[in-house]
Amino acid sequence: MCKKDWQVILAGEGGQGLVFIGALLGEAAIVDGKNASQSASYTIASRGGFTKADVVISDEEISFPEVTEPDVVLALSAGSLERYCDTLTPKSLLLYDSTLEGGTAGKNRIPLPFNETVRNAAAEGRKVPLNLVGLGAVLGMAKIVAWDAVRKVLENRFSSLEVVQANWDALQSGAALVKDIKIED
C-alpha cells in the first residue's frame, strides 16, 4: 500500500505497549518531514481493557487527530478484533493475531502469527515484544514511513545500541511475516 495520508489504528489491551508504538510511528513521520498526531483511548486498567492508539499522518496540517476512516488497523486482542472486523470498509487493511478467535480472514483481513513469533523467539532465548512485531508487520504492508526514520527514532529514544538493535530486530521479524503478502490497491 502506498498513500500520501494515513490513518492507522493500533488496538489491543492495556499493557501491550500500543501507545508506545503509536508514538514511535508518529515520531518517525515527523522525522520523515510529515505531520503526525497520535491520540489514545484506554480504560482505567493498566493491564487489560480495550486500548488503542490512533495515528494520523499527512503532508498537510492535521485538523482532527483521531482516526475517522482507518487505512490500517492492527488488532492484538480479541476485544479489538471484535470491534473492528465487521466495521471496516473494504478499503481498510486489518492485521490481527492468528491465535485470536472471531477473525474472518479475507482479502484485506489478514491473520498473522504475532504471538507465535514472540513465543518462538522466547524459545531461542530472545525477548521480542509483541507490539513491535505488530508494528513491523504494519510497516511491512503499508509504506507509511521510511524505515530509516523508524531507525532514527529508536536511536533518539534509546542510548543503548543493544536496545535499539533489539527493537529493530523485533520490527523486522514483524515485517518478515508479510513480505510475501501483496495487496492490490
Binding site: 503509536g22 508514538a23 508518529g26 515520531e27 515527523i30 505531520n35 503526525a36 498526531s37 497520535q38 491520540s39 489514545a40 483511548s41 484506554y42 480504560t43 482505567i44 492535521i62 485538523s63 482532527f64 487527530p65 483521531e66 475517522t68
Partner: protein, 377 residues
C-alpha cells in the same frame, strides 16, 4: 544561534515544557488521570532546574502550596482534573482574593464527580468561571493542539504575573494526551513577564494598594517590603475591613482588572471567515473536529468558517461579535450539555445560534458537526 527544537510530545508534556520555559520553578500537586504526566515531568525536571516538586496530600493542599511558593516570588503551578479541580475551588478563591499569581492546569475529563477517568469532556467551563464562591473574575485559556498547550502555558504565566491573578488552562483529555509536532522556543524568543515589584520604601509599601492600572505591586516573602496576603475582604494594608465601600471597591477592582482588559487577555483564531455564512464557534479538541468539518464542507462549496477560542474567560465577546458580523448563523459544538452556547448567545444575541452537544465521554467527530450543520439549515 540556538535552533528551535522540534519534538513529538503530548499536550501534557507541552504544558510542562511551557511552564519550564516561563521560568516556573515550583510544582505542588496530587496525581490524577489524565493530568498525571505533568506531575511526573515536573518531578523529574524541576530538580534539574534548581526548582522543587512536592507531592501534596490532596488538591486543596496542592493549590495552597503553590500560593505559598508564589508569595516567595517563585513562579508556581499545579495540574489536575475534574475531581481535583473541584477541591481546588476553595483556594482558587484565595489566589483571586489574595492576588497571587499561579497557574492551574485542569485537564478536563468526563464527569460529574469521578465520572469517566480516562474519557474526554469539556464540561468544566462554568465550574472554571464560577466554581469558587463570590463575585470574581478569572482568566482561563483553552488549547486545542500540542503547540497551543506549550504556547498558552507560557502565556498563562505571563498573564498571571501581569494581572496578579491565578490563570487556569482548561485542557481536555484528548489534547492533553495526544502527541503532535511542537516547536519549542529558544531562550529569549518569547518575552516573559514578571510581576511588578514595589518601588517605594519598605515603610510605605501596602500589599494591596493598586497602581493606576488597578494592579498592586507585589513584594515577596523575605523582602524588606512586608507582604501581607489575606483571603478575607481587606483594605490596602491587607487587614480585614468590613466597611461596605471598601468591600465594594475591592470586589470591583478584582473584577475590573480582568474584565476591563479582556482585549489584552483574550485570543481567538479564525478560519475562513472572509465569506462565511455560518460560523462554528468552539474550542479545545472540538475545534479540531470543527476545522476538519470546515475543510470538508468548503470542498463541497459551502461557506462555513470557524472561530477557535483560545481564551474562555474573560469571554472574548467583542472579538467574536466582530468576527461574525457578516455571518447569518452560528453553530456551537461542545462536549457538554450546552455551557458555551449560552455565552455565545449572550454575546451575539442578534444572530441565529444553533447548538450541538455531546456528553458521553467520546469526542465530537467531524461528521457529527457536518450533520448538525445540515440539520440547522
Amino acid at each position: 544561534m540556538v535552533q528551535s527544537e522540534v519534538k513529538f510530545i503530548s499536550g501534557n508534556e507541552a504544558c510542562a515544557e511551557g511552564a519550564f520555559y516561563a521560568q516556573a520553578r515550583f510544582y505542588a500537586g496530587y496525581p490524577i488521570t489524565p493530568s498525571s504526566e505533568i506531575a511526573q515531568i515536573a518531578s523529574e525536571r524541576l530538580p534539574t532546574l534548581g526548582g522543587c516538586y512536592v507531592q501534596m496530600e490532596d488538591e486543596i493542599a496542592s493549590i495552597a502550596a503553590i500560593i505559598g511558593a508564589s508569595c516567595c516570588g517563585v513562579k508556581s503551578f499545579t495540574a489536575t482534573s475534574g475531581p481535583g479541580f473541584s477541591l481546588m475551588q476553595e483556594n482558587l478563591g484565595v489566589a483571586i482574593m489574595g492576588e497571587v499569581p499561579c497557574v492551574i492546569i485542569n485537564v478536563q475529563r468526563s464527569g460529574p464527580s469521578t465520572g469517566l477517568a480516562t474519557s474526554p469532556a469539556q464540561a468544566d467551563i462554568m465550574q472554571c468561571r464560577w466554581g469558587t464562591h463570590g463575585d470574581h473574575a478569572i482568566i482561563a485559556l483553552t488549547p486545542s493542539s500540542v503547540q497551543e498547550c506549550y504556547e498558552l502555558t507560557i502565556r498563562a504565566f505571563n498573564l498571571s504575573e501581569k494581572y496578579r491573578s491565578p490563570v487556569v488552562i482548561l485542557s481536555d483529555k484528548t489534547v492533553a494526551q495526544m502527541r503532535e509536532k511542537v516547536i519549542l522556543f529558544t531562550p529569549g524568543e518569547v518575552e516573559l513577564l514578571e510581576r511588578k515589584k514595589p518601588t517605594g520604601s519598605p515603610g510605605e509599601y501596602l500589599s494591596f494598594r493598586p497602581d493606576d492600572d488597578g494592579i498592586p505591586p507585589m513584594a515577596s516573602f523575605g523582602d524588606p517590603h512586608l507582604l501581607r496576603i489575606t483571603s478575607s475582604t481587606h483594605n490596602e494594608q491587607g487587614f480585614t475591613d468590613d466597611d461596605p465601600s471598601n468591600a465594594f471597591t475591592l470586589i470591583r477592582r478584582l473584577y475590573d482588572k480582568i474584565e476591563d482588559n479582556a482585549d489584552d487577555i483574550t485570543q481567538i483564531k479564525t478560519y475562513f471567515m472572509e465569506d462565511a455564512e455560518t460560523t462554528f464557534i468552539t474550542f479545545g479538541i472540538t475545534a479540531r473536529a470543527a476545522l476538519n468539518a470546515v475543510h470538508k464542507l468548503r470542498e463541497e462549496g459551502n461557506k462555513v468558517g470557524l472561530i477557535n477560542l483560545l481564551t474562555m474567560w474573560p469571554f472574548p465577546a467583542c472579538k467574536i461579535k466582530e468576527a461574525v458580523a457578516n455571518c447569518r448563523s452560528l453553530l456551537v459544538p461542545e462536549m457538554n450539555l450546552g455551557q458555551l452556547v449560552r455565552e455565545v448567545e449572550r454575546a451575539c444575541c442578534a444572530k441565529e445560534v444553533h447548538s450541538y452537544t455531546k456528553s458521553n465521554g467520546k469526542n465530537i467527530f467531524p461528521g457529527e458537526i457536518i450533520q448538525a450543520w445540515r440539520d440547522s439549515l
